[in-house]
Amino acid sequence: MRAFANLLDRLAFTPQRNGKLTLLRDFMRDQPDPERGWALAALTGALSFDAAKPAFIRKAIEARMDSALFALSYDYVGDLAETVALVWPAKPGANREPELAEVVDALRTATRAEVQKLLESWLDALDPDGRWALLKLLTGGLRVGVSARLAKQALADLGGVEVSEIEEVWHGQSPPFEDLFTWLEKRSDKPTADAPGRFRPVMLAHAIEDADFAKLDAKDFAAEWKWDGIRVQAVNERGQKKLYSRTGDNIGTSFPDVIDFLNFEGVIDGELLVMRDGAVASFGDLQQRLNRKTADAKLIAKFPAAIRAYDLLLEGETDLRHLPFRERRSRLEAFVGKANSPRIDLSPLQSFSSWEELAALRTDPPEGDPRIAEGLMLKRWDSIYEAGRPKGPWFKWKRDPHLIDAVLMYAQRGHGKRSGFYSDYTFGVWREDSNGDRQLTPVGKAYFGFTDEELKQIDKFVRDNTVDRFGPVRVVKANRDFGLVFEVAFEGLQRSTRHKSGVAMRFPRINRLRWDKPAREADELSTLEKMLDPA
């Protein structure tokens, strides 16, 4: 565990690709099996646990330390796992430090209650870096900037082979990858690549820019709505039914209602949405199904999930990825028709003859599902299906965001990279109260959209203009004559009973700082109400 923790620590602070490669290669060269294999699995996301919920970790630490001292610590650090790793009372000699392989083994066989006991004894035995690594591993958030691609390159460096050779066999391997290492160390032959039901890396789009249109011919492109769900890959291959997220996480167990109706042989690329009677529901509805390990009948009935298909990667046993989009699309239409699944429909193409015509459609989508689409997708008719984000074949053309001017009301210290700075902002707009006075009412919260330099300026403004505090929250001076105005951009607005203002923003971010704008000229709540999404 110690070597793994040191590796994570170094990786997290090493920005250069070459530096990361050296660290990974040396680690895999120096560490024994199966330790290095489990580490590789953890780094590439092939291993994820949710054995320890944040609530449990909090409870465990609060049993060991004064809650006021913990609160001060957490407020300072801004990350639960890191705070606990740092403040956990050391018990030198309590236990032997666990190896990564032991942790993995225990997690696979132990019950939840047993795991919690084990976790506490591991935390007792580890040092702060080890505790941090363990907690990050158990809460499923390593985030040290290692992509699967980078890890594969390090393996290639280790064995002196091309990275394409690693990719070819990768999906046939499973943790702790002993066959892979024995091959790379020239102690055995190359392992097999055959793995039915495996994930195929997805193709992504670039955002289109205004200048691009002049260079592109409308007749080379197909257009369809950009659905506001999550990207999924639905697989049914030789009896293996899988539902993958775009990063290759298997999310099938959360969506048994979809898995049950993958009545085809092949691989579909599409959008996972909540759909009722063929009509798409808002992203808020889909959120009720995300990040849940399982789904019961009641939840499924209330928020039924389905796939809107837009590409076909595998038809039966035939790989279609080298075929142009035009060909894949016509095969997809026949494929979806033949499957006739109640949980799969087709993302319709939009016909258009000029960019102007398409722009008009994007600005004013017709009634129904397109009204809550995020915008349009443009795909070259001749594009092959290429993993990654190649420049040129696919574009996303999002709807312009809504913009409002709002006044900063409350600020809280940020988490992660921005801990220590006041970087979480609650902002409000004006509303007339019962006396006819204009009062600010909070309408949203934003954490990003500003540069590091702007963050420092806002942080200073918050510190200089704090008028009150509630725990970690600072109340910032804001009235008709004084206040900091943010231009806030957001994607959509829904009615909400949880917010006092009655509205909830989707994806709000700070678009611009309006140091120049007087607070009294910020927007009114009535302006926002006109922007509400169609229910």
Binding site: N6, R10, A12, F13, T14, P15, G19, T22, L23, D26, M65, D66, A68, L69, F70, L72, S73, Y76, V77, G78, D79, E82, T83, L86, V87, A90, D127, P128, G416, K417, R418, S419, G420
Partner: protein, 339 residues
Amino acid sequence: MPKPESVLCPSPAGLYCPPGDFYIDPVRPVARAVITHGHSDHARSGHGSVLATAETLAIMAARYGEDFAGSTEALRYGQTVERDGVEITLVPAGHILGSAQAVVRAKGLTIVVSGDYKRRRDPTCPPFEPVPCDVFVTEATFGIPVFNFPDASDEIARLLKSVAQFPERTHLVGAYALGKAQRIICLLREAGYDKPIYVHGAMQNLNILYERFGIDLGPIEPATVEKGKKKDFAGTIVIAPPSAIDDRWSRRFADPLPAFASGWMRVRARARQRQVELPLVISDHADWSELTATLEEIRPGEVWITHGGEEALLRWCELRGQKARALSLVGYDEDEGEA
């Protein structure tokens, strides 16, 4: 028993002793000053008279010139002088070369002003000596429970491993020019590193001063580059003040790998904000466990907390029924400076 505030009280210029008419570590020029150690937020120039250890006086002279005060008086550790019926004794604080706690005795009361201190071994200065007292005035730079530092030798081992792993890069270690830099050099020597260590120009005078006081730093070279010889520094360790690391100065080296030796490096976000690639958690201040262990060991009648994380330390005292108050003195670095 008289009120301790009649012997020592906070004032805008710093802690003031009315019966002895002197300040401890005043932040603006005063007639009579007692200085605990040479860091610039504690030791300022322009006082009428200064009482400090010989090492601290030498450091002040090196930084501000020989005429940094009207007059000076050097005190050995353990030696006592009297000022208008007030006894002053300096005892080791373990912070940096020459650092001392100021022990003030008057009207039957003993007040210890720790200055900055640590409890860990430091090859460049004698260890902190606990003194029984009525009031212990403690710093609290790292007075939050998250600050528990590893052994400095483990951190040095990480540095040396990285040097071996990335021989094509220059390891650029940010360390405060007074105290931290020399301690890092000594720790590297203890770990068996005997190659020349390259230092920024701002450190050379202080290194010479340390050697004069008997601290052996081994082969030290200036980190200056002749034209076109950038690659010369690949595989070496260069020590520079933190401000020079992200400055144009650092561009002279082969693919520099920025490291930073500071207690603040214990928190990841702090290291990321400074774009440090190799955070080394090495501090000359007491961490949370040292602060609390020291209070338990001394068990003073009262604890006064000067600068840093006073909120958490006050809470800790409250939980133990230890009488305590925060002085909220201004002018001492709580941040990146000398920690």
